[in-house]
């Protein structure tokens, strides 16, 4: 869960002439950003990916070691409680996301934050509490294959998304294919993901017509599931960990990149963009 500290002493609100040299880019950017430059040879080492979902099954062969697992619930006074998770996965979906990320970034560390199981009514506060906790831990990437339609949570979610953005935590969230307003994927500080039908896990497309920004593999994906099993599945919720895994690779090779820069790299390496170069 280490994060780059290189820029912490730099000016935040203004830039004097003498300070301008201090913000020179630490590494030279290539003339053309390619997938090989962005994540070639990267393994995810040194990057922590948090999976905000139904939990992760410990010891699943397609997931491997899970560095930490917590469960978020509501206490007697409706306060958010975060404690060690001994239940594992209550659905299978969190394990599926963990397996996809592990397949792309084999050496990243995985952190499970279970926000399911607190009942439907407790699910909104658990989602917010879990996300806040993950950002406080300073994780590099948060996979959010979930959303809420409750407007009462939108404001706080928006603030949390911006906090993550400024603290260099990448939020990768599933878009909706249904005609309803939902969050947090619509926020511009979040990397939002829908599905394409291609079978290549590294192929993704930039969408020039947002709010959905990227399309990744989300159809007929073989994923880890409960009981050490694997199944085939479809949904934006499986496209999201593909982009989260690629973000982990980019971060592992270029740890200084801000969320804005990572999003720019994703744009420049998208299948429908890089071909033009």
């Amino acid at each position: 869960m280490s994060r780059p500290e290189a820029h912490e002493d730099l000016p935040a609100w203004s830039l004097t002439s003498s300070e301008a040299e201090g913000i020179a880019s630490p590494a030279a950017w290539p003339e053309q950003v390619t997938a090989d430059w962005a994540w070639g040879e990267a393994s995810g080492r040194g990057v922590c990916v948090c999976i905000l979902d139904s939990g992760i099954e410990q010891g699943h062969p397609l997931v491997g070691t899970v560095e930490g697992a917590v469960a978020v619930s509501l206490g007697e006074g409706d306060e958010v409680v975060v404690e060690d998770d001994r239940e594992g996965d209550l659905c299978g979906h969190g394990t599926a996301c963990a397996g996809i990320i592990r397949s792309l970034a084999p050496e990243c560390s995985l952190l499970s934050v279970r926000v399911l199981g607190a009942g439907f009514t407790g699910s909104g506060p658990a989602l917010l509490g879990g996300l806040r906790w993950a950002i406080e831990q300073g994780v590099d990437v948060v996979n959010m294959s979930l959303s809420t339609t409750k407007r009462q949570f939108a404001g706080v979610l928006h603030e949390l998304a911006d906090t993550a953005y400024f603290r260099r935590t990448l939020l990768v969230a599933s878009a909706h294919n249904m005609p309803v307003e939902s969050y947090p994927w619509r926020f511009s500080s979040v990397i939002s993901v829908g599905s394409h039908e291609d079978a290549d896990p590294y192929t993704f497309f930039y969408n020039p017509r947002p709010p959905v920004e990227f399309f990744a593999r989300g159809v007929d994906v073989e994923v880890a599931w409960l009981g050490g099993s694997s199944i085939r599945s479809t949904g934006n919720s499986f496209a999201t960990p593909h982009i989260a895994g690629i973000c982990a690779l980019i971060r592992s090779k270029h740890p200084d990149l801000t969320p804005f820069q990572v999003k720019s790299v994703l744009h420049l390496t998208a299948a429908n963009v890089r071909g033009a170069g």
Partner: protein, 213 residues
């Protein structure tokens, strides 16, 4: 709720279709979903917010006779995940999941091979989940099927919202004084009349209104 609201609800409950008709609408939605996808079964689960549980509300195909009314937790399992996260999900090879296979086999009497599940969203509320089991499929799943499922979910969500409104109005009526129930019965009786008898009924009500002023 004010007295005026009570009266409105009572009159509405009198005029609204009965519970059975709403349930028939839900059954017709799952019947059509099953036919369109060539599926073995399709079902609608309603969220009971007070109990924080999902309830089988309508079932088409296998398990239809016994499942309606069955309850399970609202935030665990595949349906719970879909409800809480508002994300549709398609899963093949379900028999590989030992816990799901055991639980479903107990209630359905068989283990489905595949499942499509989509949340039923009306405005900002999540009302329930629509599931389609063992659809006929080609060599691989297509995103068009997901879009079709989402369209069905929109229709089912509207029907479910109407059902819940009718139930709330019915509950107000059930808990109201006799005079409200009388107004509702009058509304229902008038609504069932046609032609000359309806005209005569309306004349009678107008006369009654004059008398009561």
């Amino acid at each position: 709720m004010s007295e005026r609201d009570d009266l409105t609800a009572a009159v509405a409950a009198g005029a609204l279709p009965a519970e059975e008709q709403h349930r028939a609408l839900l059954v017709s939605i799952v019947d059509v979903a099953r036919a369109i996808f060539g599926a073995r079964a399709a079902s609608i689960f309603l969220l009971d917010e007070a109990a924080d549980e999902l309830v089988f509300e309508a079932v088409s195909g296998e398990g239809g006779d016994t499942l309606v009314g069955t309850r399970f937790p609202s935030s665990t399992g595949i349906a719970g995940w879909v409800l809480v996260t508002r994300q549709p999900l398609v899963i093949e090879d379900l028999s590989q999941d030992p816990r799901f296979a055991r639980d479903v086999a107990e209630s359905l009497g068989y283990v489905p091979r595949a499942l499509m599940a989509v949340p039923l969203l009306h405005e900002e509320r999540a009302l329930g989940v629509l599931e389609v089991l063992d659809r006929v499929r080609g060599s691989r799943f297509a995103l068009e099927e997901m879009d079709l499922l989402a369209l069905f979910a929109g229709q089912a969500a509207v029907a479910l919202d109407l059902l819940q409104r009718a139930r709330r109005a019915g509950a107000v009526l059930a808990g109201s004084p006799d005079d409200l129930a009388a107004v509702a019965r009058l509304t229902r009786a008038l609504d069932s009349l046609e032609g000359e008898r309806r005209e005569a009924g309306l004349d009678l009500i107008r006369a009654l209104e004059e008398l009561l002023r």
